[in-house]
Symmetry: C2
Subunit: 132 residues, 2 copies
DNA sequence: ATCAATTGCGTTATGCTATAACGTGTGCGA
DNA sequence: TCGCACACGTTATAGCATAACGCAATTGAT
């Protein structure tokens, strides 16, 4: 899937996420965009919905937050399953892919005749700097 | 870790989860226990906190719900990372383990010197029955 | 050109999920 | 017996997400 031209609200939300150091909650994004006319959560959620669909933003289920995809210009959907390491101290998020993990998980679901739609892999812990 | 004797509230919450067909939200559990004297969410959340700690209940991050562990009498903490397949149609949850997936993920984090605390793997999609 | 369908947007209201903060009682070891 | 840890109850609040309404702009088929 190719990413279409973003609308005004989508661009605003995406820019906030790109410039952020780490993941942001929808309400944090809302607060950062009040000066740009945002007034209600739905404005954020609707933009996020599209950005997630385009694959340029990821949702971190375990912390109810969102991050810009770490592959600028690239299409995350082509990388298979995306995994995240989330530092619980500094909030830093590292995105990675592992084909062997994909392969094992997909092998398992095929054995169950389970039809996967969306897979979440999130490792929470401490990054190198924070663990020291 | 061995599971200590459960308190009254912990037992009530655990029983509800065990008898349930699928995952339940904290508020659903609350509703099911109103007849037993439960009045506030905290009574549920506090019990869940302990049950999660003991490893007899799992939290499904992607759907904000809880399930009893699929290994009766066993200690989930000894199985390594737990993965879940969640049917978005019927709500059925299948729990499984894959050492190779564990190994790959732990290999990756060690390369990053990341110290993992809690890992989430959840595959949402359609189970065999619902995909038909 | 026009009508219908689609999409984005704004607003209000509401619902669901989770925790803070306070106080009570009980059991148990120093 | 004092202090501590823990489970519990209650009220209030914080944080996350969506329903439902209406309007405007765009597109595309007839």
């Amino acid at each position: 899937m190719t990413t279409p031209q973003l609308t005004k609200n989508q661009s605003l939300v995406f820019d906030v996420l790109e410039k952020a150091e780490g993941p942001l909650s929808a309400y944090t994004i809302l607060d950062k965009l009040r000066d740009h006319g945002f007034r209600a959560p739905l404005q954020v959620y609707r933009a996020l919905e599209k950005l997630l669909e385009y694959g340029v933003v990821h949702r971190l289920e375990s912390i109810n937050s969102f991050v810009a995809c770490a592959h600028p210009g690239d299409d995350c959907h082509s990388h298979g399953i995306v995994a995240f390491a989330i530092c619980e101290s500094c909030g830093q998020v590292t995105e990675f892919h592992d084909h062997e993990v994909d392969h094992r998980l997909m092998g398992w679901v095929q054995g169950q005749k389970f039809k996967p739609e969306k897979t979440t892999i999130e490792i929470r812990g401490l990054c190198e700097a924070c663990a020291a």
